[in-house]
């Protein structure tokens, strides 16, 4: 039941699709045209031949009968006339001849005793006249031929078909041998023409039916061909959309089945290849994650100890060997760098693995920015243009990471003063960080958020980890926000951070997709009023 329904739906979908794409190059139209042409050629030639043969057969039979009769009558009646008959005799003979079973009109021409030409006509004055007989026929009839071995008679019976006022006639003429009147006859072929007309009509209708049949057959053939093609198209589109498990049902052994089989093989190979690549990608990500985890343990110990060394440096200057002191300082500062790097790597791997979570709180954005700048002793280098009382629901730690990276980057590459402005736009908070440096070269601009991207090869060691802006961007994305980099027309680079004022909808979605934490730590105690 469901199968037929599915089939029907597929059908109508296919129809709709083919109708909307009906063009002259479409396979369906081409098939219909070719089928139609073949049918037309076959039908027209068959009916043409049939019509022609029939026509000849009918006409010949009618004609033979008429001519036989005419010859007979000529011999019997005209031959019996005297050599120079009178007008009356001629007229009577013509009437008698016309009364034969074939009902043709007769015209007899002779010369009377005075040498005057006399006419005998079966249909009276208005009947058959000499003008109705074509001149060529008259000439042929009256021409005397040489008598030889092959041609025994000096005169022959000639006939011709003429059409007068749309009615076909058979006109024939002969001369009585051995002196006598010349006789002409005309017989309407209208009954035969009518028969032939109706035959032509029937054949035309048959041809039309054949054409319609051919068109329907072509449609059916096109559908049987196009349905698999359509299915193939749909499957290819699904494959393109990333549904790599798309397969076609292969039925039959024709070329389309071959094509479907090829498609399936290709899809399988593609799926396998993508799975392999994903596995390799996963493995390398896991490696980075594991590695940064492993780095942490020794780093924790080293950090704790370097602090002891650092305090030693600060507390009692001079007590340390002057050779050792710079070494200790180097170890302390590099340990801090290593700490930052590992911390950033951990952060990046969390984003890559999709385990990063938002910890939302209601914060005053201005307070957060001030605190961020204050905590890093940047107050002197940063100009603040902040709207007070702008509250947002976001992750304060992640906002701090974004701000610290953007402002830190501006201070490092652009130089002070760095200007930070905060505006509210619709449902989002827009924070702009603008420096007064040389700006970012156009070719670098698309890569500023890339990991470990160095603006120039001549700057081998930047102070940062090379992950800062990338992490800032990821942190904005997890809020459902965005960071864009551009150059200000007045000079200097401008980074624009846009965050939604309430990111809680996002965490609910994330929470469902991710691991369940059992407690609703983001929104505790909703039961209260």
């Amino acid at each position: 039941m469901t199968d037929t329904q599915g089939g029907l739906r597929g059908w109508s979908a296919g129809r709709r699709g083919s109708l909307s794409r009906l063009r002259f190059t479409s396979l369906r139209l081409r098939l219909v045209l070719v089928f139609g042409l073949v049918a037309l050629t076959a039908a027209v030639s068959a009916s043409g031949i049939a019509y022609w043969l029939n026509r000849e057969a009918v006409l010949t039979r009618a004609q033979d009968a008429v001519l036989r009769d005419f010859r007979q009558e000529m011999q019997n009646r005209a031959g019996a006339l005297p050599e120079h008959p009178t007008q009356d005799q001629l007229q009577r003979a013509a009437s008698q001849m016309a009364a034969s079973s074939q009902r043709f009109s007769v015209l007899l021409v002779a010369q009377d005793a005075d040498g005057k030409t006399v006419y005998g006509n079966s249909g009276g004055i208005n009947g058959f006249a000499l003008e109705d007989v074509p001149k060529t026929l008259r000439a042929a009839v009256t021409r005397r031929q040489e008598v030889s071995d092959t041609n025994k008679e000096p005169y022959h019976l000639y006939w011709q078909r003429v059409t007068e006022d749309g009615t076909p006639y058979l006109v024939a003429g002969t001369r009585v041998i051995g002196g006598g009147p010349t006789g002409y006859m005309a017989k309407s072929l209208e009954p035969e023409a009518k028969d032939l007309n109706s035959l032509a009509w029937s054949l035309g209708i048959a041809t039309g039916l054949a054409l319609i049949g051919a068109a329907l057959l072509a449609q059916a053939a096109a559908t049987t061909v196009l349905k698999p093609v359509h299915r193939l198209g749909v499957a290819a589109r699904r494959l393109g959309e990333g549904k790599l498990d798309t397969r076609l049902q292969v039925s039959g052994t024709d070329e389309l089945a071959d094509l479907s089989r090829t498609f399936n093989n290709a899809a399988e190979a593609l799926e396998q290849r993508v799975a392999e690549m994903a596995a390799r990608d996963d493995a390398s990500r896991r490696f980075v994650a594991d590695m940064s985890h492993e780095l942490r343990t020794p780093l924790t110990a080293i950090t704790a100890v370097t602090e002891v060394l650092e305090e030693e440096l600060e507390a009692e200057t001079g007590s340390m060997d002057p050779m050792i002191e710079p070494a200790v300082r180097l170890v302390v500062s590099e340990t801090r760098r290593l700490n930052d790097l590992v911390e950033n790597l951990m952060e990046v791997t969390r984003f890559d693995a999709g385990t990063a979570r938002l910890v939302l709180d209601d914060v005053d954005v201005a307070d957060q920015i001030t605190a961020c700048i204050d905590a890093r002793a940047w107050l002197d280098a940063v100009e603040l243009d902040v709207e007070r009382g702008l509250h947002a629901r976001l992750d304060p730690r992640r906002l701090d990471v974004i701000l610290a990276n953007l402002i830190g980057n501006a201070l490092k590459h652009g130089g002070s003063p760095v200007r930070v402005s905060v505006r509210q736009a619709d449902d989002s908070v827009v924070i702009q960080v603008r420096d007064h440096g040389p700006g970012i070269p156009e070719d670098v601009l698309p890569h500023v958020f890339d990991r470990f991207y160095k603006a120039s090869a001549s700057r081998p060691r930047s102070e940062g980890s090379g992950l800062g802006l990338s992490i800032a961007l990821e942190n904005a994305h997890i809020h459902g926000g965005e960071i864009t980099a551009a150059n200000s027309p007045e000079g200097g680079a401008v980074f624009t951070l846009r965050l939604p004022r309430d990111a809680s909808e996002l965490t609910e979605e994330n929470g469902e997709g991710g691991r369940d934490t059992k407690t609703d730590q983001h929104r505790p105690g909703e039961e209260g009023s």
């Binding site: 110990a301 950090t303 709180d361 914060v363 905590a375």
Partner: protein
């Protein structure tokens, strides 16, 4: 040294030798007395023998893990516990706070930060001057640092007690999570608000008649928490 200053004693439970040694060194230099254990089982045994003021507990331990150690301690004891987590994955932090930890630090931890957290937690148990306050059946005695409900003593950890004290100092007034983090945990502006949420949940479980529909510690949506006198 000769002064009457009590040196706080700590118990550090950490399985990695290098970290244990380094942290012991660092914390000792900061002026703490440090006892160490290399596993959760050893730590619990040591806890019965000598009573430290605070426990610094690693999460990833062989045998019973840090969360379980935390839960076992909480069954009988309100000792302050600071978790040392190698993974700052959010899930770890949440589980740690649920199992009853007062605070957490993420490795690689700086000795100074750990020391500051330890001192902040220890300060929570310090006595305050003056008076007592009553909220329905709940009586908070600020001089004795005790809380009674229907005349029965409640066992609160120093953090829970401090949270209740800070809320009771401003009855009917909503305090934001960030404010509470500063007042109770003495965290900087980036404190983890889940500390507050987890602590409020634990406090409600002990203080409220029906913890799932609180009448004393109310949630103020979009702001934080507020202590009310029941009508």
């Amino acid at each position: 040294m000769g002064q009457n200053v009590r040196v706080p004693s700590l118990l550090l439970i950490e399985d990695d030798d290098a970290i244990r040694t380094a942290l012991e060194l660092s914390l000792t230099r900061q002026g703490h007395r440090v006892a160490t254990a290399a596993s959760g089982e050893d730590g619990l045994k040591l806890l019965r023998e000598q009573r430290p003021d605070l426990i610094v507990l690693d999460v990833m331990l062989p045998g019973i893990d840090g969360f379980e150690v935390c839960r076992r301690i909480r069954r009988t004891d309100q000792l302050p516990i600071i978790l040392l987590t190698a993974r700052s994955d959010d899930i770890d932090v949440v589980v740690g706070l649920e199992s009853g930890a007062d605070d957490y630090v993420v490795k690689p931890v700086q000795g100074r930060v750990l020391d500051a957290r330890i001192r902040a937690v220890l300060r929570r148990g310090e006595r305050e001057s003056s008076d007592s306050a009553t909220f329905g059946s709940l009586v908070i005695d600020r001089s004795a640092m005790t809380v009674t409900k229907n005349g029965e003593d409640l066992q609160l950890t120093p953090t829970e007690l401090r949270l209740l004290l800070e809320l009771s100092r401003r009855p009917g007034q909503a305090l934001s999570r960030q404010q509470l983090l500063r007042l109770v945990w003495e965290h900087d502006y980036l404190g983890d608000s889940r500390l507050v949420d987890a602590c409020v949940q634990r406090l409600r479980a002990k203080v409220e008649d029906v913890p799932s529909s609180p009448t004393l510690i109310r949630t103020v949506r979009g702001v934080g928490y507020r202590l009310d006198t029941p009508q």
